[in-house]
């Protein structure tokens, strides 16, 4: 049985590898078409083309840094970890929001790579955008465990949270979010609705809603049940298709909405009721 599963996984991996390399184009150089603008300094939006040498493993971030180092040091880029962990180098690459450090030049079609700042974020300079609004939406959904039975300021109330691997799997995927903003940039509702929290914040609302350590269920639902809240998601799925970490924000949003529509049973509520019943019985005895 186990061997069969391993064989299946290996064959799938080989297939993927084949598909992936099939798409790769090996070139010795590409032209980076870089969006340049600095409105505060009076620099109007325009594109600068820079030719950079590339190899099979060169990422768009590597290419940009090469251009910055050897061609034009004034190019504005934000980056940090270079390994898809910090979520700083999000930008539109050939029109689609991607992480520059996670996109190899050889995966892209054509010999010109167009890099632009993320859409739906206020622009600062060149490829750098302002994330204040995005983080503000994230902050609004209270992205932390709330549980009045475990007040960290009160030692008597401090208790250990019990969580099974099954309970963990319900939210683990959504906790992989690196807040890179690609989903926010791809979302069609965010494109016009400034009050819409966006896929990132809404999927985080689900991440804490379904966490069995959290008991602020009602409060969390009240936050997103607004005319610019969760109901303005129309499942266009663009957020999930651009997510570089497999968070699948659209899934989290629909699952949360399933609970609000009564399509899914709320296990936390059931557990809470059972707990209350148990306590009542104990009190009677």
């Amino acid at each position: 049985m186990t061997e069969q599963v391993i064989e299946k996984i290996e064959s799938m991996e080989k297939k993927r590898e084949k598909e992936k390399h099939g798409k790769e184009t090996i070139r010795s150089s590409v032209v980076l078409k870089i969006y340049r603008a600095n409105k505060r300094a009076g620099e109007q939006p325009h594109y600068d083309s820079v030719e950079v040498p590339v190899q099979r493993w060169t990422t768009v971030l590597d290419a940009l840094l090469h251009a910055k180092q050897y061609k034009d040091p004034s190019i504005g880029i934000r980056y940090s970890c270079r390994m898809a962990s910090c979520g700083s180098c999000g930008m539109k690459i050939n029109g689609i929001p991607r992480l520059a450090c996670y996109t190899k030049v050889s995966e892209l079609e054509g010999s010109t790579v167009t890099v632009e700042p993320l859409a739906n974020f206020p622009h600062i300079r060149d490829l750098v955008t302002d994330f204040a609004q995005f983080f503000s939406h994230h902050h609004d959904v209270k992205p932390f465990v709330q549980n009045e039975n475990a007040d960290i300021k009160d030692k008597n109330k401090l208790s250990e949270f019990m969580q099974s691997p099954e309970d963990l799997d319900k939210f683990l995927q959504f906790s992989y979010c690196i807040k890179c903003g690609l989903c926010y940039s791809a979302c069609p509702t965010v494109a016009t609705d400034t009050k819409f929290p966006g896929p990132q914040a809404l999927s985080q609302a689900y991440r804490y809603f379904i966490d069995n350590r959290d008991n602020a269920t009602k409060d969390r639902i009240n936050i997103v049940d607004d005319k610019h809240g969760i109901w303005r998601c129309h499942f266009a799925g663009s957020c999930s298709s651009v997510c570089p970490k497999g968070v699948d924000p659209a899934l989290g949003i629909q699952l949360l909405r399933g609970h609000m529509l009564g399509f899914s049973k709320n296990e936390k509520k059931i557990a809470d009721l059972q707990d209350r019943l148990r306590k009542d019985e104990e009190a009677k005895q």
Binding site: G95, C187, T192
Partner: protein, 145 residues
């Protein structure tokens, strides 16, 4: 916090179905067909109100609407309503978290479980049903029955 609208994609963000896959196409079509059907509904309520002014007014309205152009518009309405209904049913289930798969432990290359073939085939079925309904509608409207 004061909302900053700068650099928002605006309506172009809605009308950009080609960039992200079938789900985005479905979103765009659902919205477009919805607006089209509402416009037709208002027009249809107005159109049928000519009944109240007697047979002559009704005949005059039919003369205006029962034309090749009128039938073509009706054909579009048949297609739009079929697509909007079939895709709408898929969306109601999807909005309730049904048919999307379960959260798990994502692994490279991080394909989203919610953008699965159940959803994609739902969109294709809606498109095929709309085409079939339009064909049947054309046979009734232009078939000379």
């Amino acid at each position: 916090m004061e909302a900053d609208r700068s650099n928002r994609e605006g309506l172009m963000g809605w009308l950009n179905p080609g960039r992200y896959g079938w789900e985005r196409v479905s979103y765009w079509l659902q919205r477009l067909t919805g607006v089209g059907l509402l416009a037709y509904f208002i027009g249809h309520v107005f159109e049928t109100s000519s009944l109240t002014q007697g047979p002559d007014a009704w005949a005059a309205m039919l003369e205006l609407t029962q034309t090749p152009l009128g039938h073509t518009i009706l054909l579009l309405v048949i297609g739009m309503s079929t697509y909007h209904s079939a895709n709408g049913i898929r969306l109601i289930f999807a909005h309730g978290g049904k048919g999307l798969g379960k959260p798990g432990r994502p692994d490279y290359p991080y394909d989203a479980v919610s953008l699965n073939y159940r959803q994609k085939s739902g969109i294709w079925i809606a498109l095929i049903l709309a085409a079939v309904a339009m064909l049947y509608g054309a046979s009734v409207l232009f078939g000379g029955e």
